[in-house]
């Protein structure tokens, strides 16, 4: 199995930051109302259930990776399904990653256009985001992982800001607990998959992790951190908003930030929306990086070509999805896809991997080695 050169590898505990940073993104500002819709005031239980299921999926995901020595999902696909079927699976996955990248870009553009600049055109905004992203992706996975780490360090304090909502909190709104049917709560958990998705990136960064045996631990810690933050935001939203009010609030997290005041800053949400770029940028970087790797594996062309292609795709499509309604429709379609790909797929894949590698696990070394990358 080809190990990447040591200078491109990073310590395993950065997996925690990568997993956490890619999960936290455009989902968190407004997931509350989608979960509230089916699950009502038990939405927080849905969040916990979704968190648990993300742990289960991640467990299988890392188990699959540990069956191989140092492979990413693209190599595993080709090993499992053979050359052509594997290529087809890779093509689908690459398209999924590029779409995830696009979803993040347009949702953040939508947030900026709603909260800061109604007249800012989508094209210019996506150009700005992509310009920064391309510069980062060209730096390779180490730079991207570093950016994820720094973005968490610089924005973690925002999770504590819900303290400002304290005078408006009504604990009664959480009760009675389990007032909804289990199916409703499970439906809420399914809707959460959009917010918690992203940890499938471990499939691709795994070859670059130094102490691979610790990947499992740090993946779970990252998932736990995300689950806790989502839970916090969900619970505070439930306490802060009345149900019907929450249903009318498109970005509950940002609306809660509206109440925050500092002596030097009257309206925190303006800062929060801008700062959110630090939070979504690692997502764009990671998804773009993973998708251009898929592109190179599929076509054998340089990753630069992949970058240009993904950028053109995002730029072109961001002009199509300009209204809230269309973006919402796309989000709900993506929600279904991501539920399958991030949550179900690793569990479905695991028996197959067991079957393929059952006799001599070391034979997986026959998987063709990836060409030495230029951009990573």
């Amino acid at each position: 199995m080809n190990q990447p050169r040591p200078q491109w590898m990073f310590s395993s505990f950065l997996v925690f930051f990568v997993v956490h940073t890619i999960q936290v993104g455009v989902g968190l500002p407004g997931f509350q109302r989608y979960v509230y819709e089916p699950a009502g005031n038990d939405a927080w239980i849905s969040v916990i259930l979704a968190g648990i299921s993300s742990h289960i999926s991640a467990f299988f995901m890392v188990k699959i990776l540990q069956r191989y020595h140092s492979c990413d999902l693209y190599e595993i696909h080709e090993h499992l399904f053979g050359k052509w079927l594997g290529k087809a699976a890779n093509a689908l996955y690459t398209a999924y990653l590029a779409m995830a990248c696009f979803i993040i870009v347009i949702n953040y553009i939508d947030i900026i256009q709603t909260w800061l600049f109604p007249t800012f055109t989508s094209t210019s905004l996506s150009l700005i985001l992509l310009a920064v992203a391309v510069y980062g992706v060209l730096g390779g996975i180490r730079v991207i992982a570093g950016f994820g780490f720094i973005s968490i360090v610089l924005t973690a304090w925002m999770a504590l800001l819900v303290y400002f909502a304290k005078p408006y909190i009504q604990w009664d709104q959480l009760f009675p607990i389990m007032d909804h049917k289990l199916t409703d709560i499970l439906e809420g958990a399914r809707v959460m998959s959009y917010t918690l998705a992203g940890f499938e990136i471990v499939f691709f960064i795994y070859p670059y992790v130094k102490e691979k045996e610790k990947t499992m631990r740090y993946t779970h810690l990252g998932l736990l951190a995300t689950t806790l933050i989502s839970l916090e935001l969900m619970v505070v939203a439930l306490l802060y908003f009345e149900g019907e009010q929450l249903m009318k609030t498109a970005w509950a997290t940002f609306t809660m930030y509206k109440i925050i005041q500092f002596p030097f800053l009257e309206r925190f949400e303006f800062l929060a929306v801008s700062l959110w770029m630090l939070i979504i940028m690692p997502n764009i970087l990671l998804y773009m990086w993973a998708s251009i790797r898929g592109f190179r594996r599929l076509t054998g062309r340089s990753q630069r070509m992949g970058i240009i292609l993904v950028c053109i795709l995002i730029l072109g499509l961001s002009n199509v999805f300009t209204t809230r309604m269309r973006i919402d429709q796309l989000d709900s379609v993506f929600n279904q896809i991501t539920f399958f790909i991030a949550f179900l797929y690793p569990i479905l894949l695991y028996p197959l991997v067991l079957f393929k590698t059952r006799t001599k696990p070391d034979q997986s070394a026959t998987v063709p080695a990836a060409q030495g990358g230029e951009a990573d």
Binding site: T114, S124, I128, A131, D172, F175, Y240, Q245, Q261
Partner: protein, 378 residues
């Protein structure tokens, strides 16, 4: 070197394209008319009259405040018309106070409040007030001692809310209480008395329609019932029964007045029965005696105990009075319905259901008051 210079060129191209093609028009702050307060008045034929107060930015201007007003069918429509009267673009990002006149409020103001919440420029900390008389009369009056009536109202609200003197009625509070099935908004009223502005009453809403007003001291008890209460001052009439009051003047009634300062309190409202709903209200209060009009021997512990009992009794009476009032008007600013909803499984409580249940509800109030200290002297 070639790969690096190619990379450099690529980045440069990516950075200059957005620079060339995108520019958001920004208006410098001094070119904008910053609205501090808006007021809406009732006009017949579904029309409203909007009044806005702006910051006066020219330091040399005589007046410290600019007031514009206009009539239209919607609030945004009136703002558009005002824009035509003004030399600067009117913007609402610095809005602090919204006033609605009583007549308008009795018709329902949800649309007007909702448009504030919908506007991304407006914060959710904007104070909602009801204007007794016309909002125009309050906003356009020339006060000799008030520079800008908008900022004055904002400071007045803020000061009284942080001092726990009146009920908090921010935009968020209003909408929250409106949407909550078991709760109704309560909003302070503003009156102009000659050249002064007073916050003296609390308007109680049924849904988004104002129903009645209660005196502003009732907000102490309302806040006690809402349970979000830290510190506040209240003047109470105390029955002197059983207290050894000295120097009792002849012909004086058996009452004395005392002021207590609520240090901390805990209110527990429990639902005891469902049909009709029966609530048990338990208030535990720690207070500080600020002033008392009769001289009572406070160094004697049993006297203090008795005073505590009498004060508690007086608070119980006031709470019960308040509950009677709100039941009479069938409004629930204290949020008993929320307690009901939280305690009853599968209630599916709606506003209509609660309106039918609330007047029949029964209440039992227990107040326990502890005087923590009586000042530096006994």
């Amino acid at each position: 070197m070639t790969s690096r210079s190619r990379l450099f060129r690529l980045t440069a191209v990516f950075l200059t394209i957005p620079l060339l093609c995108a520019c958001v028009r920004g208006v410098p702050i001094e070119k904008m008319g910053l609205i501090v307060a808006v007021g809406y008045d009732y006009l017949p034929n579904h029309k409203i009259m909007g009044t806005t107060t702006l910051y006066q930015i020219d330091p040399n201007a005589k007046e410290k405040v600019t007031v514009l007003s206009n009539t239209a069918y919607t609030s945004k429509g009136s703002r558009n018309k005002m824009n035509q009267e003004s030399s600067v673009t009117l913007v609402s990002g610095q809005l602090r106070v919204a006033l609605y006149d009583e007549k308008l409020a009795r018709q329902g103001i949800l649309n007007l409040v909702d448009t504030l919440a919908r506007d991304k420029d407006i914060g959710s900390g904007v104070y909602i007030n009801i204007a007794k008389g016309r909002a125009l009369g309050i906003l356009s009056h020339r006060y000799p001692e008030i520079g800008n009536i908008g900022t004055f109202l904002y400071n007045q609200n803020e000061q009284n809310i942080t001092g726990e003197q009146i009920i908090s009625s921010t935009l968020h509070d209003f909408l929250h209480d409106y949407y909550a099935p078991g709760q109704d908004p309560a909003v302070p009223c503003v009156t102009r008395v000659d050249n002064e502005v007073h916050l003296d009453e609390i308007a109680l809403f049924q849904g988004d329609r104002m129903v009645t007003k209660i005196p502003s001291r009732s907000s102490f008890f309302l806040k006690l019932l809402r349970g979000r209460f830290h510190a506040g001052m209240i003047e109470l009439a105390v029955d002197l029964d059983g207290l050894e009051a000295q120097q009792k003047r002849k012909g004086e009634s058996k009452h004395t007045h005392s002021v207590i300062d609520n240090i901390s309190s805990k209110t527990k409202i429990r639902l005891k029965g469902q049909n009709p709903p029966r609530f048990h209200i338990q208030v535990d209060m720690y207070a500080r005696l600020q002033e008392i009009t009769s001289e009572i021997e406070l160094s004697k512990p049993e006297q203090v105990k008795k005073l505590e009992v009498q004060l508690a009794k007086s608070i119980t009476n006031e709470i019960e009075n308040l509950i009677r009032t709100i039941q009479k008007y069938n409004v629930d600013p204290a949020g008993f319905g929320q307690k009901y909803k939280a305690s009853v499984r599968g209630s599916n409580l709606t506003k209509d259901k609660w309106r039918k249940m609330f007047p029949k509800a029964q209440f039992q109030t227990d107040v326990k008051l502890t005087l923590v200290r009586t000042g530096v002297t006994d």
